[in-house]
Every structure is written in C-alpha cells, then in structure tokens.
C-alpha cells in the first residue's frame, strides 16, 4: 500500500497528491510516469509524474477527475492508501543543452509541464511558459510556474484570467516577436498538442510532445499504447512518452483514445450513483 501524504484541491476537478513511494522518488525524472490502481479491483491508469521529493520519499501526481478511477482516487484523503503504485516508467525528458525554451501546457497537462519547466530553469535555460485553461476557476500552479519561468503567459478561453485566447496564439505571438526557441515542449489535450505542432512546423521549431494513451502494464507488454511516429509504430510506455511532435500521427492517436469512451462514461455514472456523489 502507498500512503497519501498530502492532498490539495487545485481546482474543482483537479487534485494534487503526494504519494509515499521512496524508491520511485529516488529515481524519478521529469517526463516519466507511474501506473496506479486505487484498490484491488481497480483498473491500472498511467499518470505522468508532476514532481518528486527524493528526501521526503514522495512522488506528486496531479489528476483531473474524468472517469471512475480518478473519481474514486479523488475521494481518498491524507493518510489513506492506494493499492498499487509502480514506476518510474518511460524515458525521461531530454532537457540537457537547451538554452531557450517555450513550455506550453493545457489544462491538467500543465501539471506535467511543470517539472520540465522547473528542471530547465534549474539547468539555467531561459524558459517561457504558456499555460491555457477554460476559465479562471480552472487555473492551476500559477505561482509555481511563475517561480520557474522567465515569462509566464496565462491564457483563458473566456478571458476571465490572464489573456483571452488560445495557447497557440500566445506561442505564435512570442515567435513573431522574435523569440528564437531551441525547442517547444508541449503537454496537454491531444487536439491542443496537434495545433501547437502545426504552429511550430511553420516556423521550423523542434517540438516535443508528451503522449498519454490508454495502456495497461506500462512496460511494453500490451502494446495498447502504440502510436505512429514518423511512419513507425512506437510504444508510448517504453519508447516515450515524449516524442517529436512533428512526426506523431495525432488523428490516429485521437481515434484510439476514444476506444472505451462509452464504457468510461457508463462506469463513471454507475459509480457516482452507487457512491451518492456527483
């Protein structure tokens, strides 16, 4: 069992938890992920590592409540424990040698962008962070990002906080203003990453995306997380989760991600009825 050491509600649907997992905390690097099961009957879900504390022996996860498993997890409290927690899985993000970087996060994906921005900042790179949310109630980690970026641009769809507009517009503005990025790193919904890549392709800026497809084991065994990258089949769990965004077949990834949509909706509704929660 793995103890929940801290729990913080970041916005109405996004929760942060520090999980006691000293061996994983010791090895974790930005860009890697863990797989967890809430209880002994639960499904295995992958979550990208949002932060880690090697001394305290904790790994931070930040998740949005989207289905039954994340709902059940969000109902647990500090000092409760989760059944399984395995990692660190996947290949760490390659951030060495970068001097000028734009980190673009969308929604809960910003949580995953955070450790990468932090590491780049620690390595002395100049980091612009662009994060986007639907509205001001959903904004997360603003202070944390401020501390690790040279420029922070918060975008909301309705303009209720920061600037009104999409992250792609903010990114393109910065590029047009003459910022010459070595690399753009983007993490968020598939559709957002797809459009960020379309912008950076026009300016020929190398772009790394972090993929989070459906997977079971996370060690290369099931092949459920396969993607087409540059015409080749890759497994997000062992070859990624980071890939060259200009080579990823996003349309295929979007289609594959909807495989269990109906089941997921049904499972969540059933669980909420059962538990008497919304």
């Amino acid at each position: 069992m793995y103890k929940i050491v801290t729990k913080r509600i970041l916005n109405p649907t996004v929760v942060l938890m520090d999980i006691e997992a000293p061996l994983i905390a010791k090895k974790a690097e930005p860009g890697q992920f863990i797989i967890l099961r809430v209880d002994s009957e639960g499904e295995r879900i992958p979550l990208t590592i949002a932060d880690f504390d090697r001394e305290k022996g904790t790994v931070t996860i930040i998740f949005q409540v989207v289905g039954k498993t994340t709902k059940a997890l969000s109902l647990l409290n500090e000092n409760d424990a989760i059944c399984d927690f395995v990692g660190p899985l996947g290949v760490a993000s390659h951030v060495e040698g970068l001097k000028r970087v734009a980190v673009v996060g969308g929604g809960v994906g910003s949580a995953i962008a955070y450790p990468i921005a932090k590491k780049l900042h620690q390595l002395g790179a100049k980091v612009d962070v662009i994060i986007g949310f639907r509205n001001k109630d959903l904004v997360i980690l603003e202070d944390e990002f401020k501390a690790v970026s040279d420029n922070l641009f918060v975008m909301t769809d309705d303009g209720s906080h920061g600037e009104k507009g999409l992250v792609t517009q903010a990114l393109e503005n910065q590029i047009k203003l003459g910022n010459e990025y070595d690399e753009v790193i983007t993490i968020g919904p598939l559709i957002m990453m797809k459009f960020v890549c379309e912008v950076t392709k026009r300016y020929n800026i190398k772009t790394t995306v972090s993929m989070n497809p459906i997977m079971i084991d996370g060690t290369g065994m099931c092949g459920g997380c396969r993607l087409t990258v540059g015409g080749e089949t890759k497994f997000a769990c062992v070859d990624g989760p980071d890939f060259d965004g200009h080579l990823v077949d996003f349309d295929e990834a979007i289609a594959r991600s909807s495989t269990y949509k109906e089941f997921e909706e049904h499972a969540l509704n059933h669980y909420c009825n059962l538990m008497g929660v919304e």
Partner: protein, 464 residues
C-alpha cells in the same frame, strides 16, 4: 494386473456448447477411482523413458505407483521433489511431445495419461492436505529473482529449499507472470496459481510486486544491496505486430493486450473496471496456443463468429492438438492457408473488416515447415469488428538496456549457457522466454531449476 486398454481413460470436460459461454475450467479432472484405473496402465518400466522427456525430471513411474495404491499424498511428495508447480504443469504442459511422447504404451495405442494423473494428484493434495508448509532454515544469504512467472517461481522455490533468503521482484501487481496474465481462467484457474504461490511464500520466499527492475532498481543496485546472485526470468513480453495497413485502428489488439484485459484485469466479469470491446466478429491471426486462447476468450465474451486466420495448414499449426480440438468443438472457425493483407476501417468506427489472401504451401523453409506462398488474385474480405494479433512476442528490453555487460543476441534474447543459465555477467543467471524467446511454461521451469542449481554451486564455492 495392469490395465491393458489401448486408450487413455477420458477426462470429464464441460460440454462445448455450455463451456463456450463461461470462463470456468474446461477440463474437470479425474476422480480418485479414474486416476487409479488409469495408473494401472503404467508398466513401471525400469529404464523410465518418460522421465527423460520431462524438462524437470519428475519421477513419473514412482508417483504413478503410489496412485495405483491410492496413496495420493505420497504421489504428491514425489512430484513436489522436482516440480515447483504440479497443478500448473498437469494442466498446461504439452505432455504429448514430452513425457507421454516417450511412453512405451504409446508404441501400440495411447500413452499413459501422465498429465491427467499429475493434475489429479496436485488437485487432490490442494483439496485434502492440512499439512502446513514449514519455513526453511535460512542460510543468511540473499538472492534476487526478477519476474514471478514460471521460470522465476521455480528458481525461487529451489533456492528457498536450499536455505537462501529469496526475494522475487515482479513488475505487475500480482505474481504469476504469463500464468495470470496470459493463460485464461478456463485452462488454468487463477486460484490454483495463487495456491502454488502461497506455498512458496510459506516457505519463506518474499514477493515484491510493482517493482520494475531496470527502472526502479538496476541489477547493479541489487548486488549493492547485498544480493549475491540474480536470476532474470523476465519473459518475452513485447508483442509483435504485422506491419500491415490499418493495424492501429480501434479494435485491433495484440493478443497480450486482449488476454491481459480478460485474464489479469478480469474484463469478463461485470464488475471489472477494465473493459474489453464487446465484439460480434473477431479474427485472431496466428496458429499457436496464444491464438487459441484469444479466440476462445473472444467466443466466451459473446462474439458470434470467431476466426483463426493462419497462413499455413492444420498440420503445421504450432498449438497443442488438444487446444485446437477444444477450439473447434467450441465453434471457432478455422481459416487456414489464409493471410491478412490489410485491416479495413475508419478512425471513427474502428475495424470493419480484414482483407485476406489465400496461401498455398511450397517447399520446406528453415523451420522445416512448408513455406506458405501467396495465391495471386485470391483476395477476399472477412467482415470483422475486432482483430487480435497472436503472431509472437520478443523479450522485453528494460533489463538488457540498463545492465552493463549483459549480452543479448540479435533477437534481444539474453545469452545464457544452456546447462547453467549463466549469462555474460558473473553471478547473473537467466532462463525462460527471456533467453529462448516465446516457448512453454515447462521449459521455463526447467531453466529456472538448472539456474538455481548452478547459482547454488557458484555461491557455495564463494565465501561471502
């Protein structure tokens, strides 16, 4: 007086039309009377040809002698001396090409049903024994086993018996490896695997789940932590795909994914949180045991038509004959001499069909089997909404890529001495599918056994 019947005594099974819609075990096992009757067919040959056919050298005539007398617990003791997982082997070993292939009774008629007898003895013990397994006195030396599948569990059991403090590291959340994620409930009930594992734990073996060696700890770190020997039994987990158009559509699975969803995550149970797509028409590509398992699972999940699509003919099929027969009885449709060319569908709908070609057999190839050749212009479409690729797996690269000095061949298999399992790193042994590529449970167990003996010998000769 020996039973001179030329045929094995049939083992009761669930009727095909009933079993193809449930996940309960197909074979029901002998009764004590049946076991004693079949045991009488054994001639107790002095030269014991059957034992030479067993990868772990079970003393077959000796245990069958005890079955004849109704001394089932004594029979169990004899099997247990050499086999770590009798109830598993009695179910999934390909006896027809091993012990039973060497049986003298098989020269004229059928071999003694050694597998069925082993299964009976193991099940009898599980159901009736009240004896507690005693922890074994510890010699104070630590060894690490990577992977809790058949190879690792066998190696762990043998080393624990010799007094080592054994820790097994398993990447998944439960121990058992392919016995729990791959082989379906109806061939090998998971409760049986769990009992075998509980026996190992009672002997003092520690099993650490959720530990991906190569990620959370490296082999070098295991040595730093005081483990004196390491056995790698990490299996051949990486599924192969066919590299044909459409194979990343929704509804295309590797057999590993499909079987893991169904077996490990229990997708067939209503309460399971892990789904598997409900399908009407399913095509499984491949002709091995894994293909049969996937097809039979799909049928049980309610598919109307389940096809085995195999590029050679029935005679070349690598699956066990019994599995092929069981699949046919259950209504699986065999499309032999057929090869998929592309999977048809749309991103939104997923799979809607598979375009296939007919094949003919030419001259034997390197494997000794006749090479399949495409019949030009024979293309046709099968309507399906799910495709499962069961065309093989290769060893997982996680350990080899993080262990310096551990050499692998061009297929990614760890290089290990056949008789000892010793790898190119001192103190590191390997066996099972990680070394051979996808093979059988019993060969993996045999490799685990040899490696345990070799590691013990190595450590005996080495002061701490």
């Amino acid at each position: 007086m020996a039973n001179m019947s030329l045929k094995k005594l049939d083992m009761p099974v669930q009727e095909p039309e009933i079993r193809n819609s449930n996940f309960e075990e197909v074979a029901l096992g002998y009764t004590p009377e049946m076991a004693m009757e079949e045991a009488e067919r054994c001639l107790n040959c002095k030269h014991k040809p059957c034992v030479s056919g067993c990868p772990v050298c079970v003393e077959i005539p000796a245990f069958i002698e005890e079955v004849k007398k109704g001394e089932f617990e004594k029979a169990y003791e004899i099997i247990k001396e050499t086999s770590a997982l009798p109830a598993v082997c009695g179910r999934v070993c390909p006896q027809e090409t091993q012990c039973e292939a060497k049986c003298v009774r098989g020269i004229k008629g059928e071999a003694v049903a050694i597998g069925r007898l082993e299964r009976f003895v193991a099940d009898y013990h599980m159901a009736n024994s009240t004896e507690q397994v005693k922890p074994i006195e510890n010699n104070g030396r630590k060894v690490a086993i990577i992977g809790a599948g058949p190879a690792g569990l066998t190696c762990a059991g043998d080393l624990a018996k010799k007094g080592y403090k054994v820790t097994v590291f398993e990447a998944l959340h439960v121990a058992g490896g392919v016995l729990v994620y791959g082989i379906p409930e109806f061939r090998l009930p998971k409760a049986i695997v769990q009992k075998e594992i509980d026996t190992l734990k009672a002997m003092g073996v520690e099993i650490c789940t959720n530990m991906v060696i190569g990620k959370v700890l490296s082999i070098d770190e295991l040595f730093e932590q005081g483990y004196e020997g390491v056995f790698i039994g990490s299996g051949a987990g990486l599924p192969s795909f066919m590299h044909i158009p459409g194979e990343n559509l929704k509804g295309v699975y590797s057999a590993n994914e499909f079987l893991t969803r169904v077996n490990l995550m229990k997708a067939y149970e209503k309460e399971s949180d892990t789904p598997v797509k409900a399908c009407k028409n399913v095509a499984v590509f491949g002709g091995g045991n894994v293909a049969m398992d996937a097809a039979r699972c799909a049928k049980r999940l309610g598919a109307e038509n389940v096809y085995i699509v195999y590029r050679r003919s029935d005679a070349e099929m690598p699956a066990r004959r019994e599995e092929i027969e069981h699949a046919k009885e259950e209504g699986i449709i065999f499309k032999n001499l057929t090869n998929p060319v592309q999977i048809l569908g749309t991103p939104q709908e997923g799979v809607i069909g598979v375009e296939c070609v007919s094949m003919a057999l030419g001259e034997p190839d390197a494997s000794g089997r006749r090479r399949p050749i495409v019949v030009e212009g024979s293309n046709f479409v099968l309507d399906i909404d799910c495709a499962i690729m069961a065309i093989g797996t290769s060893p997982n690269p996680l350990i080899r890529s993080t262990t310096e000095g551990l050499e692998t061949n061009k297929w990614g298999c760890i290089i290990a001495e056949e008789e000892t399992g010793l790898t190119t790193r001192e103190g590191v042994y390997a066996g099972g599918d990680a070394v051979t590529g996808a093979a059988t449970v019993i060969l993996a167990m045999g490799a685990g056994k040899k490696a345990a003996a070799a590691m013990d010998e190595h450590l005996q000769g080495k002061s701490r």
